[in-house]
Symmetry: C3
Subunit: 301 residues, 3 copies
Amino acid sequence: MRHVLSAPQFDKPELLEIMNQAADMENILTTKGFSTMAEGKILATFFYEPSTRTRLSFETAMNRLGGKVISVSDGQSSSAKKGETVEDTMQVISGYADVIAMRSSEVGFAERATKTSLVPIINGGDGPGEHPTQSLLDLYTIQKQFGLEKPLRIAFVGDLKYGRTVHSLQNLLRNFDNFSIDWVAPKELDIQDKYFNAGTDRKFTELTDEVLAEADIVYMTRIQQERFDDVAEYERLKDVFILDAAKVAKMKKEAIILHPLPRVDEIATDVDPLPQAKYFEQARNGVPVRMTLIARALEII
Amino acid sequence: MRHVLSAPQFDKPELLEIMNQAADMENILTTKGFSTMAEGKILATFFYEPSTRTRLSFETAMNRLGGKVISVSDGQSSSAKKGETVEDTMQVISGYADVIAMRSSEVGFAERATKTSLVPIINGGDGPGEHPTQSLLDLYTIQKQFGLEKPLRIAFVGDLKYGRTVHSLQNLLRNFDNFSIDWVAPKELDIQDKYFNAGTDRKFTELTDEVLAEADIVYMTRIQQERFDDVAEYERLKDVFILDAAKVAKMKKEAIILHPLPRVDEIATDVDPLPQAKYFEQARNGVPVRMTLIARALEII
Amino acid sequence: MRHVLSAPQFDKPELLEIMNQAADMENILTTKGFSTMAEGKILATFFYEPSTRTRLSFETAMNRLGGKVISVSDGQSSSAKKGETVEDTMQVISGYADVIAMRSSEVGFAERATKTSLVPIINGGDGPGEHPTQSLLDLYTIQKQFGLEKPLRIAFVGDLKYGRTVHSLQNLLRNFDNFSIDWVAPKELDIQDKYFNAGTDRKFTELTDEVLAEADIVYMTRIQQERFDDVAEYERLKDVFILDAAKVAKMKKEAIILHPLPRVDEIATDVDPLPQAKYFEQARNGVPVRMTLIARALEII
C-alpha cells in the first residue's frame, strides 16, 4: 500500500513523479476547478491533535478530486478515551474509508496505524516526528519557482533544533545535487550534526546581510519562548531573527520566502505585499500536493 | 466580491432581487430537492463561536446547491490558539474554499477577514454586531406571507436594547415604505433613539391587547436575566413578555409570529400548533435564503 | 415515517427484509463501491454524546449511498447549552435534513425527537436504553455466517446486567426459533430474569470449557470496574472473563467471536488473527446495515 509516513521514504525518481503529478493537479484546479476521479471514494481525516490548516487542506484536496470525507477533528473525545488502541481504531476506520489522513502528538503513531489498517495511511504530522506532506508541498513550491536542477542556496532560519519541517525538507533536498544550505540559528537552537553536510553547508548564528543577499530561498520558522531558560536571551534573539521589509530589501529580487505557518511575529506583516513573500501561496500548494498523495494512495493515478 | 457583511449594505433593488432568487431556490427545494449549480465548489464554514443552527443551515444550503463543505466548528481549538491572526487564517482558508461563512463573538471580525480573503465572506454573526443572513431570512418570511407592498405593522417584543436581529431587521424594513413598527419592551431594554422613527413608530412598555390586535407580525425575542440588576424585576417582566395561546387569541387570524430561535420560554409551547406560529418555518427559510447568498457570492446566479 | 428507535419494534418478516437489503448493499460496496440512489439527500448526524465509530459508520453509509452529510459531533456545545429543548432542535434540523441519526446519554431521547421531527429519526444509542442499529449489524453478522434457520447456541459473556447491546440483540434473536442462549456472567452482573427463557437458555458464572465447546457464537462484552464495590473481586472476575487464544482453541473451528467494540483487554490481541475473530468484520458490517436503514427511511428502497 502507498502509505505516506516520512520524508526519507521518497527517492529522487518518486519525488520527481510526485512533482509532475502535483503540477497536473494544479492544472485541474486552475482550469475546470475540480475532478471526478475519486468519485465514490472516502477519505477519513483522523486528527488526535487539532489542526485547522492541515485537516482542511486534506479535505479540500479530496473534495476537489470528487471524493467524500468523514472526519474526526478531536480524536481525544471518542474511542481513545474509552481505552481503545490506535491499532483497533484504525482497523475499524479503515473498514469505512478508502484512505486515512491522520495526526497525533505521538511520534510513530501513523506507522503504528499501518499495522492494522486495511487502507493507505497518510501521516499528517506525528508530534515532533514527521510531517511529510508539508515537506512535499515545500518542495513543490521551490520547484515551481526554480525547477530542481540549477544551483540553489536555501537558508533555514530560526528554531533548527526542534523544527520538524526543517528536518524533513532538508531530507528531501538531499536527493538533489543542486542545494546548498545555510543554517541560521542561535546556538541554543542549532541544527544537529547529523543534518549538517560539511561539503556544501554553512552555519550562521545571526540572520546576516550575507545570508540574505546570497539566499535563493529563505525558510523562516518560529522561535518558541519555552525553549529558553533565560527570558532576556529569548527576547534578544527573537528580535534578531525577525524578517521585515528592511531585511527583505537586501535579498535578491527573484528569491522567495517560505514559512510553514502559522506565523506569529517572526515575519513582519510589511513583508506580505512584497514579491518574495510566497508563504501563503505555499500553503495553497498543499491542495494539489495532497490531491496527488490521495490519488496515488487510491491508485487512481 | 459579493461579501455579505451587514444589513445596511443592501438597498431596496438588491433586497427585492434576493427575495426573488430565494423564491427560485425554494422552488428547487420543493420540486427536485437539489441543484448541481455549485458542482465542484467548496464552502468553508468557520465558526469561532459554536452555532448549531446557523452552521448547519449554511452547510445544508451548499449541499442542496450540489457543492461541498469544509468546516471548523470551534475555531478556538486550532490556529487561533497558536496566535495566528484572523487575517492570516482567512488568507489561507480562502486558498482552499470558494466562499467562506464565518461567525465570531467579536464585532467586525467578518470585515477584518475581507482584508486578506481571496474569496467572498458571508458574516454568520459577529457577536453583538451584525447577523445579516438572519435578517434576510426574516424579511423573506414576511415577504412570503404578505408581500412587501401593502401597509404592515410589526411589533418587536422583548429585549430591544441588545437584540441584534431586531436592529438588523428594522434596518432592512426601512428600505420599504409600508412598515410601521411597535417597539414593545420594558424600560430597561428600550429601543435606542437612533432606531426610532417618530413618523410611523410607537412605543409600548407591555405587550398590550392593542399591540396584539393591530400587529400583522409579532417578532419575539428573549429577555435575558443577566441584563437586570434586580432579579425580582426580571421575574416580573419575563412573565409579562411571554406569548401564550391566550394572548395569540387576541391577534388577527392572518398575523404571524416570528422568533430568531432558540426560544426558551418566551413563547409557550401551546402556541406551536396555532396557524400564526411561523418561527419554525422561518428557520427553514434560512436554507433557500442562504442558497441565494452563496450562489450570488459564487456568481453562479 | 420509518423511524428506527428500538430493537423490539422489528418483527421477523421485517428483520428478514432488512437482512436481504443489507446483503444487496454489501454487494454494491464490493462491486461498484458506491451508489447514487440518495443523490441530493442529506443525513444529519446529531451526537449529543461523542462517538467515533457509530457516527463515522452512519456518515460512511450515507456517503456510499451518494448522499450528503451535515453533522454535530458534540451537541452539548450548541443549542442545548442555550436552553433549547430537543423537540425544538429536532424541528429545526428536520427542516434541513431528509433523515437524522442521533445519539444521547438520555434514555428515550430519540423517541422525544420523533414528536416534532418532520423526517425519520434513527436512534444511534440513547444511553443505557437502546442501540438498535448495533443489534441489527450483530444479527447481520450472524446471518452472514450461519443463516437464520439452523439451530445455533450463542454465549453472551461479561456484563449482562448493564450491557444494552446484549439486551437488544437477544430481543431480535427471540423472533427466530433456532437460538439457544448461554448467559455467562459473574453474579454481580447477572442477566435480569425478564430476559431469561427457561425453555432454551442456560446460565453460567464462569466462561467454562463447556460453554466454549458448544457455542456457535461467543458475544463478548466488557466488565467495567465501576460496577464493583470490591476492587479485588473486580480484578479476579475480569481475568476470568478474558478470552485469549488458549480459550479459543477450545471453541469449534467454525464458531465466531463478536464484540460491539471498543474492546479494552477482555479479548486478548492474540485472538485477532484467528479465524473465529469476527469483531472487526462485524464493525464493518455496520456500513451496509446503516445504508439499508437510511435508504428505508428515505423510502428509496
